[in-house]
Amino acid sequence: MTLAEFYSALEAMGISLVFLMLVFVPMEKVFPAKKHQKILRPKWLLDFCFFLGQYLLWSGLVLWTLNYFADYLTSIIPNSFQQKIASQPFLLQVFEVLVLSDFLIYWGHRLQHNVDFLWRFHKVHHSAEHLDWLAAHREHPLDSIYTIGLINLPAFIMGFPLESIAGVIAFRGIWAIYIHSNVRLPIGKLRILIGAPELHHWHHDLDRRAGNYANISPIMDVIFGTYKCPDKEPEKFGIQEETPNSYLGQLIEPLLPKRVWDRIKQGSEKL
């Protein structure tokens, strides 16, 4: 990363921080899910480190990996297949891309909760005990590569230019942050179509297999029987396992075998 690129990332981070605070802080104050949760609640600094890390360190790595992955797929997918897809009506292509990516991310996400190897990385995201817009950024970079790779996979395979539905992508991006926010604003039956914080909060329940794995629309959860929406908020968020309290610890722990990590932890406790 050159100095100019670093300044550019710093600028993007600053603008995003101000924008996200403007969007979500008033909502969290006026329509709070947990009424007594403060803006600077416990572990906000840890989540802020994840926020900084995403903008300044990891997004470049994630995009580089995706680029590499997209180029590889481009070289192996037959032209005739992509041409057939491109000859379909545009709206049908949009529908296919969105439904397939929702389907993939649903099952990919469900696997993250059921396969121990994937859970090692995904549990970093679930270790947040206080949910808000900032906690949405708590994600291990390798977990980001997995989820972003899956959500973009149908478009790569189909050769579909996602920039032609940039608005939908932008909405999906900011809605993913919104469903983590400390907001409770029931939207009635509409929540079956676009999802809501009240659904996703139950996904962050202490139970590792609590359900609600879908991305934006909970339709996949309804179809596959994992939809869950009680009328109240969960009592506690987080996971039952013990996780490191520091940013570095959260990044390194999933990469190491458990006994190695335990030895490091014991060593640091002695110091």
């Binding site: 969007v23 980001s144 991006g173």
Partner: protein
């Protein structure tokens, strides 16, 4: 009443900012279109390098793919050239070299073109 006004104002601000953001990311107000979906867990909103520089797969394969010896498709070097770099249409000849057993190698029309061309080029050189 006061509470109601605050709630309406908050919702208005929230919806306006989201609509504005979506419009910006769709290319309005000088925004840059993103070509990558972010993480469903929530990830960077604005990234200076969030467009994947994908090579157009169809073009790439047409220009650089060399057929297998078993596929019986002979690579046509003129096909990939842009119009500006192509030869004058009157001078175009079939670039395929036929087998000694296939009969026609050069048609009389092609021969005339070639002769004319060589004479013109020679005359230029002599000057």
């Amino acid at each position: 009443m006061k509470n109601k006004i605050i709630k309406v104002a908050t919702l208005t601000l929230f919806s306006s900012l989201i609509i504005g953001f979506v419009a910006f990311q769709s290319g309005y107000f000088g925004g840059k279109k993103s070509s990558v979906s972010g993480s469903p867990n929530g990830s960077t909103l604005i990234n200076q390098a969030d467009t994947i520089q994908k090579v157009d797969s169809i073009k790439w394969k047409k220009s650089f793919l060399i057929s297998s010896s078993k596929s019986f498709v002979i690579h046509d070097p003129l096909k990939g050239l842009e119009d500006s770099t192509k030869l004058d249409s009157s001078l175009q000849i079939d670039p395929l070299i036929y087998s000694s057993k296939s009969g026609i190698i050069v048609t009389p029309e092609d021969l005339k073109k070639m002769v004319k061309d060589s004479l013109e080029q020679d005359s230029i050189k002599r000057k």
